[in-house]
């Protein structure tokens, strides 16, 4: 089955069974490997992408259900030679990144939070990240970076 999507602004056609998880299509067919496919249950958050501007766990989204939708992955946040998005820069500035496995999902979840609530408090940030599991950092620097962004405008995706 052919499914037409807009991925990071470009029209794409993928050829998969319709119940194939969107995360698998992004990684294996479109080679957008920033999106991770880890738990496959929507618990870890490493596959979080934007589908029509909603940050979703793409492991739980059948590709056939989002035909015609606009998908944005972590790769859309910055070009290889361009500046980082503010949320990415904040993580770099606070030295928040360790292994990086969870970070595409964390960046997406935080972008969704900051789009909706540009000045989150600590509880808002922690609540926004309950579905993003990080085994390295202990979260503190990630939360601090996000709180620092709350004083600026536009997280940018």
């Amino acid at each position: 089955m052919t499914t037409e999507l807009t991925v990071n602004g470009s029209p794409r056609a993928v050829h998969n069974p319709p119940m194939t998880p969107l995360a698998r299509v992004l990684r294996e067919d479109l080679h957008l490997t920033g999106t991770k496919l880890a738990c496959g249950e929507g618990f870890c958050g490493s596959c979080t992408v934007f589908v029509d501007d909603e940050a979703l766990a793409s492991c739980l989204v059948p590709v056939g259900s989002v035909a015609g939708a606009s998908i944005r992955t972590v790769e859309s946040m910055a070009t290889p030679r361009g500046p980082l998005a503010p949320v990415q820069q904040a993580m770099k500035d606070t030295d928040a990144v360790q292994c990086g496995m969870c970070f595409p999902g964390i960046l997406t979840s935080l972008t969704a939070l900051l789009d909706e609530n540009p000045r989150p408090d600590r509880a808002d940030v922690e609540t926004a990240l309950v579905g993003n599991i990080c085994r390295c950092t202990g979260y503190e620097r990630i939360v601090e970076a996000a709180l620092g962004l709350g004083t600026e405008t536009g997280a940018g995706a």
């Binding site: 119940m19 929507g42 618990f43 940050a55 739980l60 056939g64 259900s65 926004a128 579905g131």
Partner: protein
């Protein structure tokens, strides 16, 4: 006849544009309903596998309706938890339902998981919306080849295992009546996992501050969420008191049968349930004090 496959490769996806078309596709029982996908897509991990065919209902306009009048809330079955939480934010009459929609699972799941999926998934014992809607005496609308029918949610839950295939849950109607509502859940972590137990209550006080009506529902303790009528009736006529509510719940907890699960054993669910009832009534007490 519904057959299952180990992975997603063999499943067909139908995309009806009307409820009538969806009902027609579901009529012979060979296809399953697909709404948000948060339960269906984990079929491989659970070992349930996947159906031959799915009928995608998440885009049907009738199932996306969300409206509030003075005396009722109508929720389309494909409305997500996140949409419901946004819609109910600050609604003083539906604080319990709002909390259930706002705190279940995690944000990314709340943006896909639907109200109808919570109610229709027989094996999902820990669904937050089910006890919240039970406590509010919600009714569901089902559409099948014979037409439309309406059932009390409690009756719908009881009917699910033996229901004939082909019915589509399209709407939930919640009567909005005076009173206070609360949703309390206990998780092993602070958030993001399945609750060990859930308590919802809808309480109306009389002019003297005594409990005039109470409807209490319990989720995640037994395999299916249920009302707790004996506890509700014991609390009527008494002051709103968390200690009394907890002690009465402890006395009556033997009426329930705790289910064993990976996050908690049945005895533990029963052990914490009265404490959760006490917390729910403490929250109601606090709210009464603020009014």
């Amino acid at each position: 006849m519904l057959t299952r496959h180990r992975d997603t490769a063999s499943s067909v996806l139908h995309r009806p544009v009307t409820v009538a078309e969806a009902v027609d596709l579901l009529a012979d029982g060979s296809a399953s309903v697909l709404a948000g996908g948060s339960w269906v897509m984990r079929g491989e991990i659970r070992g349930d596998g996947f159906a031959d065919a799915y009928v995608l209902v998440s885009g049907l306009p009738e199932l996306l309706e969300l409206r509030r009048t003075d005396d009722a809330l109508v929720i389309g079955a494909a409305v997500t938890h996140a949409q419901l939480a946004r819609f109910l934010a600050g609604d003083p009459h539906l604080a319990g339902l709002s909390a259930a929609a706002r705190t279940s699972a995690n944000p990314a799941i709340r943006r896909v998981a639907t109200v109808g999926g919570n109610l229709a998934t027989i094996d999902f014992a820990a669904a937050d919306l089910v006890p919240a809607l039970l406590a509010l005496s919600a009714r569901v609308t089902l559409v099948d080849a014979a037409g439309e029918r309406h059932l009390a949610l409690a009756d719908y839950l009881a009917s699910r295992p033996d229901a004939a295939p082909g019915a589509l849950l399209t709407q939930v109607t919640v009567p909005v009546t005076p009173g206070l509502t609360v949703h309390e859940r206990l998780t092993m972590r602070v958030a993001g996992d399945y609750p060990v137990a859930i308590v919802d209550a809808h309480v109306r006080l009389d002019a003297d501050g005594l409990v005039d009506e109470a409807t209490i529902a319990v989720g995640s303790v037994e395999p299916v969420a249920r009302l707790w009528p004996s506890l509700s009736s014991r609390l009527v006529g008494a002051p709103l008191d968390a200690g009394v509510a907890e002690a009465t719940a402890r006395e009556l907890a033997g009426e329930l049968r705790g289910r064993d699960g990976v996050e908690a054993q049945g005895w533990y669910r029963l052990q914490v349930l009265p404490t959760l009832v006490g917390r729910a009534f403490y929250t109601l007490q606090q709210e009464t004090g603020q009014r």
